[in-house]
């Protein structure tokens, strides 16, 4: 069912104005690549949409002493092109796989967060880098770790009247190898069946620290911490990784849906681990 009616939408000029509108029940709209579709289908209702995509306060990427801060309304394409994101290879690898050039020129990282999709490609690097989410409302600001912010499919810790303002990502320790792979049903415009992102620090082929984040295989992106710990002091070889394949398959909680069965997702999740040795 497709509605052709017009959506109520307002365009505040300042953050304060936007926060008042959101406090009154308006739904923030940034890139619109998901929300616009849901509102038109009627699966999402709000008295009005508040267009926040061009608010100065939600824009830009800036480098701080500890890392970078990305405005919530910064598009994937802008983040990819910004020199400050060069040190975050896994962020760039993941964002590059989102949709198509037009989708990347529209969709935003803040939108990816607020959407809280288990298959949100942009979320995986945020889990790996242990990013924090800055929220703002007419009552003030607060900050949450990304793992505290996302609670389930489409569910976040956002309170009534709150907006995602920015995302802060700390610089990683030097020497991390970045890895990102998503498996889908086709080659283009993929919504993942399973995806794995990783940061691996290794000396002479031996893993010193590993962070893994899996998408589309649980209600939220997951960090399989027991597997991460078990990787330490193992050689980065297919043989050594194979020993942990089943552990990784057991660490995920996938569902069956139109894209794949839960069993297939579990198997793919385990197999993706072996890929780290060739990445």
């Amino acid at each position: 069912m497709r509605r052709t009616g017009t959506v109520e939408i307002v365009h505040p000029r300042y953050l304060g104005e936007a926060l008042c509108l959101v406090a009154d029940g308006g739904r923030p709209l940034a890139g619109g690549t998901d929300l616009f579709v849901r509102v038109r289908r009627g699966t999402e209702t709000a008295p009005c949409l508040v267009f926040v995509g061009e608010l100065e306060e939600l824009r830009g990427v800036r480098e701080t002493e500890a890392g970078i801060e990305i405005g919530a309304a910064e598009t994937h394409a802008e983040i990819l092109a910004h020199p400050a994101t060069e040190r975050f290879a896994v962020l760039r690898l993941a964002l590059r796989t989102i949709g198509s050039p037009a989708i990347r020129a529209m969709g935003t990282l803040g939108g990816n967060l607020a959407n809280a999709s288990p298959s949100g490609d942009g979320l995986i690097p945020l889990y790996l880098h242990e990013a924090r989410v800055r929220l703002v409302s007419i009552h003030g600001t607060r900050e949450l770790a990304v793992e505290e912010f996302i609670l389930g499919p489409g569910k976040t810790a956002l309170r009534q009247g709150e907006l995602v303002r920015s995302i802060t990502i700390p610089f990683p320790r030097d020497g991390a190898q970045a890895y990102f792979r998503k498996v889908g049903r086709r080659q283009a415009l993929i919504i993942a069946v399973a995806s794995l992102g990783a940061l691996v620090w290794a000396d002479d082929g031996v893993i010193r620290e590993a962070r893994l984040a899996l998408g589309s295989v649980a209600p939220t992106v997951v960090r399989p911490r027991a597997v991460e710990r078990a990787l330490v002091n193992r050689p980065l070889t297919v043989k050594a990784l194979t020993e942990l394949r089943d552990a990784l398959s057991s660490a995920v909680r996938p569902i069956s849906d139109l894209r794949a069965s839960a069993d297939y997702r579990r198997q793919v999740a385990g197999n993706l681990l072996l890929d780290l040795a060739s990445g």
């Binding site: 497709r2 052709t4 017009t6 959506v7 109520e8 939408i9 307002v10 365009h11 709209l29 890139g31 619109g32 690549t33 616009f36 579709v37 038109r40 289908r41 949409l49 267009f51 995509g53 394409a77 949709g99 198509s100 050039p101 037009a102 989708i103 020129a105 529209m106 080659q187 283009a188 415009l189």
Partner: protein, 153 residues
Amino acid sequence: MTLRFRLNGRAVTVEAPPGRRLLDLLREDLGLTGTKEGCGEGECGACTVLVDGKPRLACLTAAIQAAGKDVLTIEGLASSGRLHPLQEAFIATAGVQCGFCTPGLIMAAYALLQENPRPTRDEIREYLAGNLCRCTGYAQVAEAVERAAERLR
């Protein structure tokens, strides 16, 4: 509300509700039917237009998001009365069959060549990944973009 923006190089002023889709504004209010509606939910790329030089899907863009911007549609490519080299190349390689996806493909290809005047075959295929075609197949399309890139250099 009154919306003002540039459309294919000309200033336009139009009355529209702010939540009207840019797609409907172009096709119904301004009579530019070159931009097509395929899926209406951002999966097919048929409604690709350029906004301030960047590719965008007109079906997922609210009219208010075009305010003050520079919008380029397929009609703007041949505004001088002569076909753009991309349009000529699509014809020459038979990159058009039913033609429904063609305006979106050409606008995406136009955006690619603005960013990267010398794309490889793989870069072309990757850049056009969001534009679905159900009859031509993509080989002739990629060839058309290569040809046009050569002519534009």
